[in-house]
């Protein structure tokens, strides 16, 4: 087997553990130096490949690469840049292959969600046609947990843990204050299309620690009266309640609930979050004192409270991607296969990219309670293993000691390419 170089890129919104996958790819490649030469990384994701802005990861020490495992965000930079279809923009795909050829790259590891799986598939198809064979392996990553076939997506478990922990903590706070102050706390979480992350808020309450939580899923059209009745009944029973609201919740008119037509003093439209909107509905409808929070990037960057399961799976996906490549596979994605929920057992599988690309996995309907405000036992059974275990980063001076790589650029060999 001739030595070929590899290319690794991070795609889309970053997570607390995508660098753990990068660590898995690079460490595994380093162990197979007779088959894989240099691992290049794309600076700012696929844009780095298109513009031939490659990073030479051999310039990074083993220690620095190992530290990726405990460092959140995308160490090489990521991007939101969706390649159009082959028909619409063959030029970009050809450029990718041209860059790979120029740098003797035979392995393409693309770490992302649905869009990048699609890009991966197309690069593999086109490279075969052109006669510049490139083994394209997709490494799954998305906090949205919406990739098919794999039981779950690396990145999701850590957001889920962050939201579950934060909801429990904030709920304890509200419970303490409810007698004379705040009775309802509203937490806005990510998830524009699917309620996976919102569902994780439901884990804050369990048999030992009962917390009244109302979840607003994007799968359930917001019904103001039913919502207020639910909050009212919980506050009457428990003295307080927490509301976990997905940013993607929609009004009966099909618009995002967050889009309330707010105008500033000058009449300019303002788009706030959905949390203040829901809080205001509570104030207006029930006259209860509220607080609200918006976790935003904090939730997906929170490596300090990452799920150990998630960190391990993210690493395993990176490692497996390289192993699949070495085994001669192409157009595949390693997957997480659940063998058992209690006790949790999983193993690494593989899926054909043709089955992954352009398929969005939604949350099963039976994960949401009949009244639309809670998670079911089945949902809890699915989610619980994914937040298991803590994997604390090292600390220095009271702060997590995250690594910033040198990211040394590789000399360019090709003419400039305009995006």
């Amino acid at each position: 087997m001739a030595t070929k170089n590899a290319f690794y890129a991070q795609s889309g919104g970053v997570t607390a553990v995508i660098n753990s996958s990068a660590c898995g790819v690079i460490e595994t490649a380093r162990k197979h130096s007779s088959e894989i030469g240099t691992v290049f990384a794309g600076r700012n994701g696929i844009i780095g490949a298109l513009t031939e802005d490659l990073i030479d990861t051999t310039q990074e020490s083993d220690t620095a690469i190992a530290a990726l495992r405990h460092t959140p965000s995308g160490a090489f930079g990521s991007c939101r840049y969706k390649l159009k279809s082959l028909e619409q923009n063959r030029r970009e795909y050809e450029r990718l292959i041209e860059v790979f050829k120029a740098h003797d790259i035979g392995y393409f590891f693309y770490n992302g969600g649905g869009d990048s799986a699609d890009t991966c598939l197309k690069v593999s198809q086109l490279s075969e046609k052109i006669g510049v064979p490139i083994q394209a392996i997709h490494v799954p990553k998305t906090v949205d947990n919406d990739l098919p076939i794999t039981d779950n997506c690396p990145g999701f478990g850590s957001v889920a843990k962050y939201i579950a922990v934060s909801t429990r903590e904030a709920s304890f706070d509200v419970r303490s204050m409810a007698k004379t102050s705040t009775k309802v706390f509203v937490l806005e979480v990510m998830g524009r299309h699917a309620g996976w992350i919102a569902a994780a808020g439901g884990l804050a309450s369990d048999a030992n620690t009962k917390i009244p939580i109302v979840i607003l899923f994007p799968e359930v059209v917001f019904d103001r009266d039913r919502f207020l009745a639910k909050v009212d009944s919980l506050v009457k029973e428990f003295g307080y309640c927490s509301v976990v609201v997905s940013e993607g919740v929609k009004s009966p008119d099909g618009k995002f609930l967050a889009d309330q037509g707010l105008k500033d003093a000058f009449g300019h439209a303002q788009l706030g979050g959905v949390a203040p909107v829901v809080a205001d509905i509570v104030r207006e409808g029930l006259g209860l004192k509220y607080h609200w929070g918006v976790a935003d990037y904090l939730q997906r960057a929170a490596r300090h409270i990452a799920s150990k399961t998630d960190v391990e799976q993210a690493y395993a996906m990176g490692k497996a991607a390289v192993e699949l490549a070495l085994a001669g596979k192409n157009s595949v994605m390693p997957t997480i296969v659940r063998k058992s929920s209690q006790p949790y057992a999983w193993e690494v599988g593989a899926a054909a990219l043709a089955d992954v690309a352009n398929v969005e996995k939604m949350m099963p309907k039976d994960f949401i309670s009949d009244d639309g405000f809670e998670i079911t036992k089945g949902c809890r059974e699915y989610l619980t293993p994914l937040i298991q275990g803590e994997d604390y980063p090292p600390y220095k001076d009271g702060l997590p000691d995250y690594v910033t790589l040198k990211n040394v650029a590789v000399e360019k060999k090709l003419p400039e390419f305009k995006l």
Copy 2:
């Protein structure tokens, strides 16, 4: 020395470590059972004393009390209920003393901020006059870090750590995405009067991990043009920046910046947070893509990432309060005395409540940089020790195993009292 019972209550906004002080009070009292009989706690703070709604802490096991050390929020309930002055409402003070007398309470431990220090002082003064001697000891607590004499306040260090860690993590996220997506992240933090918590955001950047951060302090009047120029220059240099904004930042007209006169589609006034306002100023002024978050209760409830220093100091304050009482002291508050910043060394001191009540400690002017957007070396030297060390709670099923006490009510002996 005759055995007397003790009363403990939590006051005002709760913190990640106020229960650690409760733990210090109760564990220390249990060790001195010949002098201190039952420790009663006020259900929902001082309201519990006024309404004779006392909790019998002897019903809680040693294990449950020990678990308070790692449990955020107020385990007995807190309240926002400020007693008026003695002249305006002598009735309430007399009722407190009446309840204390009925339950043979000779020690009053009040765990809170400036207001509760004042209440503590007055109870002590009045009880002496009436001839029902009660030793009133104030246990310092406030995330606002605004109590005088003590070097810092338990509760603050953990919020500071949470904000520093979160700002670092979110900044890593933005740095990854800045090429094609978000360039400015705005995080709103607590602090209506003083910028202590906002200042902690500045710790996210240090010699090893340089992060461009703009801090908006309540001490500095917001100047739109200068702010935009600062953000613009940082984004040009680093490609991105983070903004940490205190909820208390004010416009030149003296109003809160958060109060932007937002109106909904029906013309109703909406009060959002300050983060979306600042984010919108960035969008309008520089056309940069932004994200914003509001940590709200998450920041002060985040026991999962509490500062070990803070947990230890909170416990030490509770313990010292009991020891001061046993030494016959009255109208005092244990304090944290800094002996050295590098290496950090502190010891327990004591302050007369007459010197504590109604004095608010502001952030020193020389803690803010000349341009008003950063912390100085002096500020960093003060803050850094306070976030040192991690003190992780135990976990169960992926979530922190926080205790919920039984909170068994004590039989009432007095007629009802209307608040």
